[in-house]
């Protein structure tokens, strides 16, 4: 299976970039220290006040000190802001995905294994979650959450609470198929309690479909985080996030186009790498898709 994965060039490229991004996010303080910069200090002297605060110099003021230039208007170091932005983007994305999988698999397996009434009730809940306008609700919820609560955690929780429906539906469907298998029936007849059946007989069978689905959920959640931060309901300043930087860029893109490209390119590359990984995983784990996706 691993050999199949390694033969997929897209997967390998995606995996390399994705791993690199995770490393950047984890070592963000170290990288910023290495550059000798932090993400909060203003550098007014590097800005051209005659032109409204655009960085002095080519490509957004790139220099030996500021490797990727500085932010227009504030003069904060762009390299430091970008690497710290990776923390928010990946942290919220991964956190939300893990929560969604936990919640979705629990509800899905419970619906699939439970009796008729449990299944009917839980299925309605799943339908409700799936049909809720999630972006609108996320914005509204984030607007009423008290401002002093830890923002990245709230973001991950809100995204997860509104987005676990898909995982639950898949888990339920797979569980319903799995429970007709002989070995599951045998375990049940042998008197295994429902939680042991769920853990020992059902969960192993769920791994492949859930993994494929979750791999695509991760970039989706990162897009949602970027979008929410873009709209100003994500993380609070001065914490940097790529989405938030892009939103600042909308006011600067005429004067300082370089400022659009860096966070935009990073976001795109990171998302693409995770999508490529997800695509590779699906090809290998879902034999039905093999032919279709080639």
């Amino acid at each position: 299976m691993i050999r199949d994965l390694l033969r997929d060039r897209g997967f390998v490229a995606g995996a390399v970039i994705a791993t690199g991004m995770v490393l950047v996010a984890v070592t963000a303080p170290l990288l910023a220290a290495l550059a000798g910069q932090d993400y909060t200090t203003y550098h007014d002297t590097l800005l051209d006040s005659a032109r409204g605060g655009v960085p002095i110099g080519a490509f957004g003021g790139i220099s030996g000190e500021h490797w990727l230039g500085v932010e227009p208007g504030t003069g904060r170091d762009l390299f430091a802001r970008l690497v710290y932005g990776a923390q928010v983007s990946l942290g919220v994305g991964i956190g939300a995905t893990v929560l969604e999988v936990l919640l979705g698999v629990t509800v899905g397996v419970a619906a699939g294994l439970g009796g008729r009434w449990a299944d009917a009730g839980l299925s309605r809940v799943i339908d409700l979650v799936l049909s809720v306008p999630s972006l609108v609700l996320a914005i509204s919820l984030l607007a009423i959450v008290p401002q002093d609560w830890p923002r990245p955690i709230i973001l991950a929780v809100v995204i997860a609470v509104l987005g676990w429906g898909g995982t639950a539906r898949i888990s339920r469907g797979e569980t319903l198929t799995l429970r007709t298998r002989d070995y599951v029936a045998a375990a049940q007849v042998a008197g295994a309690p429902w939680w042991r059946v769920a853990r020992r007989e059902i969960l192993p069978g769920l791994t492949a479909p859930i993994l494929t689905y979750a791999a695509l959920l991760l970039p989706t959640n990162m897009v949602v985080e970027a979008g929410l931060s873009f709209l100003g309901v994500g993380v609070r300043p001065p914490t940097p996030s790529w989405g938030q930087m892009l939103s600042t860029a909308t006011t600067w893109f005429r004067a300082d186009p370089a400022y659009v490209f860096l966070p935009g390119l990073l976001l795109f590359l990171t998302l693409l790498s995770f999508v490529l990984v997800a695509n590779g995983l699906r090809r290998v784990l879902d034999p039905r898709q093999r032919e279709v996706l080639r």
Binding site: G10, L128, S131, V132, P133, S134, L135, V136, L137, I139, S140, L141, A143, I144, V145, P146, L216, P219, V223, A226, G227, F230, L231, G232, V233, G243, L246, S247, A249, T250, F253, R254, P257, V260, G264, L267, F268, L271, L272, F274, V275, L276, N279, E291, V292, L293
Partner: protein, 329 residues
């Protein structure tokens, strides 16, 4: 059919009622004070007290919710300061910040969101099915690969990034188009389309990718079916097999998706509207969040919920109508 329709409508109403109760509970039992959240930016203690009495926030939550439901059916009067603010029949709340009923605010914005969603949906359906078919027939290997790559890239591209790049290219660099401002269709259809073309494209990118992928997979599945093999064995020309037989099976799942997707776009075009400064429902929501205008936030959330519930019901009915294998219970 009629029985099914009735059951579907009642089911939808129950879901809506549950949704409204949930939203009401969330917003009015949250740790933040709803009066402060409805009072607006320039809030004074007197104004806060007025808002509190007007919204009846001192009453039990259940009573408040009951008044809210009554307002939707029969309209409602808010005693505000010395006077009374009237909110006519489908009353979804009253925005004290803008001194207007939420329903009025929403009705002003829905045509914009609808224009945006309809154009984007038509564009992405055309492009998506087209590319999906061209690559699904596998006549051109390189094209197939290109589409596959674009589909993946489409998944990895946030709407606002596409929008930003389009603005940068067409409005700043090439200067082919002016910066978008919304012109109603009834005023000037041509200007309406000209101003909406960039938002349409940026919304359509992701949707196109999804449709292309679905069409392609659907066509592959449907070409592998027995009746196609039979048709081939009878010597029916390949072109005819494709258009008459395979296409039908491939596009069936898309029909039902369209209704839900249209609703999705109407409700989730928040980013595009903000990006291009279009005065739609999404922008109303973001504005209300920034202005601290809770009644509008609640109203928008409820109406988007309503749109989604209707779309899901429509999708179910459509599915039964186009696919003879589905029987209505």
């Amino acid at each position: 059919m009629i029985g099914h329709l009735l059951r579907r409508i009642i089911g939808g109403l129950i879901v809506l009622l549950a949704l409204s109760a949930l939203i009401y509970a969330l917003f009015y039992l949250a740790p933040s004070d709803p009066a402060i959240l409805a009072c607006g930016k320039g809030c004074t203690p007197e104004r806060l007290a007025d808002v509190r009495t007007a919204m009846g926030l001192d009453e039990p939550v259940l009573t408040q919710y009951w008044h809210f439901l009554q307002g939707i059916v029969a309209g409602r009067d808010y005693p505000f300061g010395p006077g009374v603010r009237h909110c006519p029949a489908p009353c979804l709340g009253y925005s004290f910040e803008t001194s207007q009923p939420v329903t009025t605010l929403l009705l002003d914005r829905i045509p914009v969101s609808f224009s945006l969603a309809l154009g984007a949906e038509i564009l992405s359906l055309t492009l998506g099915i087209g590319t999906g078919l061209l690559s699904g027939t596998r006549r051109f290997r390189w094209f197939d690969r290109l589409v596959n790559g674009l589909v993946l890239a489409g998944y990895a591209t946030p709407v606002f990034l596409v929008g930003l790049l389009l603005l940068l290219l067409f409005c700043v660099h090439l200067q082919w188009l002016p910066f978008p401002t919304y012109v109603p269709f009834t005023t000037d259809p041509l200007l309406w389309a000209q101003n909406l073309i960039l938002p349409w494209i940026s919304l359509a990118v992701i949707q196109t990718a999804a449709y292309a992928r679905l069409t392609r997979a659907g066509l592959a599945d449907s070409l592998a079916e027995d009746h196609i093999r039979t048709a081939r064995a009878y010597g029916i020309p390949e072109r005819r097999i494709l258009w008459r037989k395979a296409l039908r099976g491939a596009l069936l799942p898309l029909v039902t998706l369209t209704a839900v997707d249209l609703a999705q776009i109407i409700t989730s075009a928040v980013l595009t509207e903000t990006m291009f400064g279009l005065p739609g429902v999404g922008q109303l929501l973001v504005g209300a969040v920034n202005q601290i205008d809770l009644p509008v936030v609640v109203g928008v959330t409820l109406v988007t919920g309503l749109i989604m519930v209707c779309a899901n019901a429509a999708a179910d009915l459509l599915y039964a109508a186009v696919d003879p294998r589905v029987e209505l219970r």
